[in-house]
Symmetry: C2
Subunit: 360 residues, 2 copies
DNA sequence: CTGAAAGCGCTAACAA
DNA sequence: TTGTTAGCGCTTTCAG
């Protein structure tokens, strides 16, 4: 005798592989092969199974398949923020690459970059097969070390503003362009995301390019843009501050982000400066902003690079070989309307670094 | 006799619950309880187990736990893009809310909004327990229908530009502000993401507010900004196009996004218009851009709303109750420097809708 | 308070 | 070509 009527807990207990096997009159093993497109299944059998699975709305459970295979077919994308176009573009690029290969994307949004020495929970729980780390400074030394020890495939993508050579490379490209135009007094605006230590190499370091700067009598001022007011107002203030300095003024500004470039542009226009006649401006990131404003910029192709990283990761996972580093990337210069030769000749020849803190 | 020596396949087969149980001299059941903080474990036992687990670097496998419990402790966040600040902010808001509760976030980045009538694979594979849908137009009717049928908890968040009442509500707020300032000739710029059908209600629909507009003799022009050149240049062009129209010109513009507001601002300034004396501008989204440019704007608090949605979803999941709709949201107006009373009095009284297509 | 044992749903040898 | 049989690692009654 059946127990007194009770409502079922769930409406649709979702068909399992056994249901399909039973309906098709085959074993679960065959269903599994058929559905995954593996060989050793007769064509008619496969067709029938597929139809039945379709009718039953069957899809393998990720948990069960993951337990059995040890693979989750999902990769973790580590980022510290989505507020910068370069980052959200990178996530989007990765998302597309992964979707193309039927992998899932688990977003590992870390609160404060490298706040904890622990690896994210999703990694420890093996919810992801591999990690795509966006920005060289996103994970701390210890975390990267643990990654290497754990043997989890991972790929780190250099993104602007992340204690990375990317900044140096991009800034170098911009500077080269300006120097070629005849500028000898430059300013480089970068934000709190940038690594002062690395960047300052540009002004005082021992690199070949740096010494070349000195020899050529080029003056480069580094302006650290800080403050919680957002990149645009902060860089406006920083620009004002720079302009209030005694002595000669730079004839060109390199900005570490589009937002900063906009801030400088707005403030310069407010001061009545003509762009590029009075001041050349170079932006970075290659997002809509610079394009729209007709600003010359160094672009990073974050989305494309993230997609490449993802692909390289997948190749490593499926081929069971090591992660291959994609072709070396170099920043690209897009010359638009915001750069031109300076109005006057060279000015001073003393390299200097100034700090320009904004309130808040 | 043991088989001939062979190298192990993996370096660190990662400790399992059995390893911990063995090392602690207890059963796996006890380890499971201890680690998850469940009752019925003696304090000393619990402590010992925790220490051993720590030493062994044990973390439960997500797949195994998922299989056993039927829950994945991860939710899917559905979005069609990350390129708009409102969207990436929403994702970030959701990420933080989920991280606070130790849930994982699977990013379901759909290619073309509602391109396929199918639910995303991750949903069918039960890789996620619930869905947070960003933007009312992100999922198609059929998909939403399937969601409801499948009983998967889901929450849809209205975001600007997504065939949603949000647009109407926000635009209404902006318009009310402008009318109160004395404007009688307005233009509303919106993009391809916006739903023309809904929006046009503002100009010709039967709503109380709409008729009020008519009665008050307010003229509202709807400008559809299109073109693949990005929101900023497109809206510049659209503004130029609008300004080239014969007849009276609007004294205020409402923009459906920050980017459009910037485009209008730039183009207006290029035409020598003073903001807000000659033209009032209202932006939307409340992102850095409007704040930085001192633009009056209607803000959506996407991040906060997404976080609320996530919380409501988690409450439903854990409490096993239905998804509760959070408190009704209404767009908020932040008055800054870009709006003021019109220089001249009312102009015309004919409502009209113009299309302003930009090339490409 | 603790343990034994039966799965969760699928995959992967190995047989047939 | 197909089926049988073990698990995968954890959770969860139900006894003890």
């Amino acid at each position: 005798m059946l127990p007194a009527g009770r409502t079922t807990r769930t409406r649709h207990p979702k068909a399992s592989i056994e249901d399909v096997a039973a309906a098709a009159g085959v074993s679960t093993a065959t269903v599994s092969r058929a559905i995954r497109g593996l060989p050793r299944v007769a064509q008619p059998t496969r067709t029938r199974i597929l139809e039945i699975a379709q009718a039953l709305g069957y899809t393998a459970s990720a948990s069960a398949a993951g337990l059995a295979t040890g693979k989750t077919r999902s990769i973790g994308v580590v980022t510290s923020s989505l507020r910068y176009p370069a980052y959200s573009a990178a996530v989007e690029g990765a998302a597309q690459a992964l979707r193309d290969r039927d992998y899932s994307l688990v977003l590992l949004h870390l609160p404060h970059p490298s706040a904890s020495p622990q690896l994210p929970t999703d990694v420890n729980m093996r919810r992801v097969d591999a990690l795509l780390v966006l920005g060289a400074g996103t994970l701390g030394k210890e975390q990267i070390g643990q990654l290497q020890r754990s043997g989890i495939p991972h790929f780190v993508i250099g993104l602007p503003g992340t204690q990375d050579d990317v900044d140096v490379a991009a800034a170098t490209t911009a500077i080269r362009h300006l120097v070629q135009l005849g500028h000898t007094d430059l300013a480089f605006f970068h934000g709190r995301l940038a690594a002062a230590s690395r960047i300052s190499l540009l002004a005082a370091g021992p690199g070949p390019w740096t010494s070349a700067l000195h020899e050529a009598g080029i003056k480069l001022r580094e302006v650290r843009v800080e403050g919680g007011a957002g990149a645009i107002p902060s860089s406006r203030k920083a620009f004002s501050c720079l302009w209030a300095q005694p002595g000669s003024l730079p004839t060109a500004v390199v900005c570490a982000s589009d937002e900063m470039a906009l801030g400088v542009l707005l403030e310069a226009e407010r001061k009545g400066l003509k762009i590029p006649a009075d001041l050349s401006i170079v932006g970075m990131d290659g997002q809509d902003l610079c394009e729209s404003l007709e600003l010359t910029a160094v672009i990073h192709y974050s989305a494309r690079r993230a997609a490449q990283g993802a692909q390289s990761l997948l190749a490593a996972l499926e081929g069971d070989r090591d992660v291959t580093t994609p072709a070396v990337w170099s920043p690209e210069l897009v010359v638009r309307q915001s750069t031109a030769a300076p109005r006057n000749g060279p000015t001073s020849t003393v390299a200097a670094t100034i700090e320009c803190r904004t309130s808040t």
